[in-house]
């Protein structure tokens, strides 16, 4: 992004009618272009919102942290450079580079690191924080030649690494990955001496643009993909089942496939659904998947579609079984023709070619998959997702009411209501922001918006956890609204696709009416291209066409409510 492009983004957003999202920018330098890039990158990610940047004081990161913690912000960007650890490590100071000064520089930097961690921790209690450690080269302070590591440089880098580690372990703090920054912005091209000396801005503009993009990405991350559908032949392994032996090892120069298997296994453990499509007969495929040294456990693969129909047909079945939309799924195959066939039916699906025989290409694919499926943290539900679906205990899809009744009667359903906790519990907001089909209005929230919603007067904010005889599904639903006497307005309501067809939505409303003796509930409903399940449910509650804000009385709900066999866990009910 150039400054011109960044300014154009900001100007285009001036007319946005939505709320103002305020972000603090804390850095010791003059922020100029960095502020412009951070604002524009945030703005690009927050449609219908107008981004404002609040700058901290010049040359005072600690003061900036304290000041930022006092604003009503949606998040904070913190940029720490060497000169913020000790001003002698900057170029706008001339306080001494004599050998006798150097131990004091390190001591001072250690103290500054402690103070910054404390300040960032306090700030993170108020709002999400994205932070980068020193990105510029150390100035020539040491007496050693440039190719020889000096004790002062090694000690300072140790402090910087320790600073990043301490920040990464703080709740609510996300740290820029220096390896990615190094890839995108070569370390030797970052410093702009002229700019630093004349206007106090130390970065060349391309570096500031990349740093701004990464920081914004930490605060407003892209929603991770949910499922990966993979081909087998020349993808999970080298070779074609039934035609020749297949391999994934160093001896057969096919070890890149082992790395792919290893990544898929890790993704599955992190909650990513892994499905298989293969043009082969099912018996052959099952024999291949039963290989004892396969690094991808067979039980993690569900469904496995093995037949000779077009792969788009297999993908359709898998999407139906997973109950997620194509935009949340990545399809990996070595054949460009197969990728094109699937993509022609599902243009929203991400189709990636497995570059068999190109080890460097496979490694790049692994990195791309990490980005597509990466998430800031794992929650217990991530570990539950794959095995639960793999048990085959999915309720019947689009079945008749009788079959559903029979299934639920045996399911030993149990729901637990928990209050939404902020900050620290990212699961509730994650559910709200990634659920499409049963989503009252499709509204997405930043951390700051969500906090404001949950903490306002009269707020009702609940998370529902579910389990049944086939195992726990974890926290699967979030409902937030405002209660006034016997009336409840529901502003946000989502139910995970994993928990559909269990009448949890009916049970939730039944619990609300009963728990608070409500006379009626109003829903802040809005149709979206994807929330047909929420629309369909609300349609069952009202007569005639669905109004803009459907209102359901206790009597009308009781008259329509189907048979429910869900038990409530009362221990943690608010």
């Amino acid at each position: 992004m150039t400054v011109s492009e960044a300014l154009a983004v900001m100007h285009a957003a001036r007319a946005a009618s939505g709320r103002v999202a305020r972000y603090a920018l804390v850095c010791g330098a003059t922020p100029v272009h960095l502020g412009t890039f951070v604002a524009a990158e945030l703005q690009r990610r927050l449609a219908d919102t107008r981004v404002e940047i609040v700058n901290g004081p010049y040359g005072d990161v600690l003061g900036g942290l304290e000041q930022a913690a006092r604003i009503d912000g949606d998040g904070a960007v913190v940029v720490v450079e060497w000169s913020d650890l000790d001003r002698r490590l900057g170029l706008r100071d001339a306080a001494g580079w004599r050998p006798g000064d150097l131990p004091d520089v390190v001591t001072n930097a250690a103290w500054a690191c402690d103070a910054i961690v404390a300040g960032v921790g306090r700030l993170a209690d108020r709002m999400p924080v994205a932070i980068s450690g020193p990105t510029l080269p150390l100035p020539p302070v040491a007496f050693t030649p440039g190719w020889m590591a000096s004790t002062v440089a090694v000690d300072l880098r140790r402090l910087a690494a320790d600073l990043a580690a301490r920040h990464a372990h703080l709740a609510g703090v996300r740290v820029v990955e220096s390896q990615r920054l190094d890839t995108l912005s070569a370390p030797g091209t970052r410093l702009d001496v002229r700019s630093w000396l004349t206007i106090g801005f130390p970065y060349r503009r391309p570096h500031a643009a990349i740093l701004g993009e990464l920081l914004a990405q930490l605060l407003v991350p892209t929603a991770p993909k949910k499922g990966l559908i993979t081909d087998l032949d020349d993808t999970v392994w080298r070779g074609v089942l039934g035609e020749a032996s297949v391999s994934w090892d160093l001896d057969h120069r096919s070890h890149a496939h082992a790395l792919y298997q290893q990544l898929l296994a890790a993704l599955a453990d992190a909650g990513v659904l892994i499905g298989v499509v293969c043009k082969a007969d099912a018996t052959t495929v099952e024999a291949g998947l039963a290989a004892r040294d396969l690094l991808l456990p067979r039980e993690r693969l569900f469904p496995v579609e093995a037949h000779w129909e077009p792969k788009s047909v297999s993908v359709e079945r898998i999407l139906r079984a997973w109950n997620i939309d194509a935009a949340s799924v990545v399809f990996v195959d070595d054949s460009p023709a197969e990728l094109a066939e699937v993509q022609s039916v599902y243009p929203d699906l991400t189709a990636l070619r497995f570059p068999t025989g190109d080890d460097a290409g496979v490694y790049a694919l692994l990195e791309e998959l990490r980005d597509l499926f990466g998430k800031p943290r794992l929650v217990p539900e991530d570990g539950l997702r794959a095995p639960t679906t793999a048990t085959g205990a999915l309720p019947p899809v689009a079945s008749g009411a009788d079959r559903l009744d029979a299934f639920l009667a045996r399911a030993e359903q149990e729901l637990t209501v928990l209050p939404v906790a902020t900050p620290g519990d990212g699961r509730a907001l994650e559910l709200v922001n990634k659920t499409n089909q049963f989503n009252l209005n499709g509204r997405r929230y930043t951390d700051g918006e969500w906090r404001a919603l949950v903490e306002r007067d009269g707020s009702v904010a609940l998370v529902l956890a579910y389990r049944e005889r086939y195992g726990p599904l974890g926290r699967i639903s979030v409902l937030a609204g405002r209660r006034a006497g016997a009336h409840l307005t529901v502003d946000t309501w989502v139910l995970s696709c994993r928990a559909f067809s269990r009448r949890i939505e009916w049970a939730t409303l039944a619990w609300l009416f009963d728990r608070w003796h409500l006379s009626d509930i109003t829903f802040a409903y809005a149709p979206t291209p994807k929330n047909h399940l929420a629309t369909g449910f609300l349609q069952e509650l009202v007569d005639g066409a669905l109004p803009a804000a459907p209102r359901v009385s206790a009597a009308a709900f009781a008259a329509r409510k189907p048979a429910l066999s869900i038990r409530w866990s009362a221990a943690e009910c608010p």
Binding site: T2, S4, L7, V32, H33, T36, R194, I199
Partner: protein
């Protein structure tokens, strides 16, 4: 030092000013200066230099910053660069 070879310098410079001072109408830009534009502060000057450098593929030298105190002087600077 790069020579500005393309025509339409004034039109492109108006676009640069429009990015930095979006509140200005196109008829106000040719007479713009710090005294006539309330938002023309040091940050705006820095942004203006960056936008001009990006648009024209040049680097503005330190001694030239003093020549960038109005639309007319910036245009004159660019015309001189073009003539080199």
């Amino acid at each position: 030092m790069p020579v500005i070879a393309l025509d339409g310098v004034e039109r492109r410079l108006v676009r640069c000013f429009g990015l930095v001072f979006p509140e200005l109408g196109t008829d106000e830009i040719p007479v713009a200066s710090p005294s006539s534009v309330g938002t023309w502060d040091s940050l705006a000057s820095i942004n203006l230099v960056a936008v001009i450098e990006e648009e024209f593929g040049i680097q503005v030298e330190l001694e030239e910053l003093g020549d960038m105190m109005s639309f007319a002087t910036v245009l004159d600077l660019l015309e001189r660069r073009r003539g080199r």
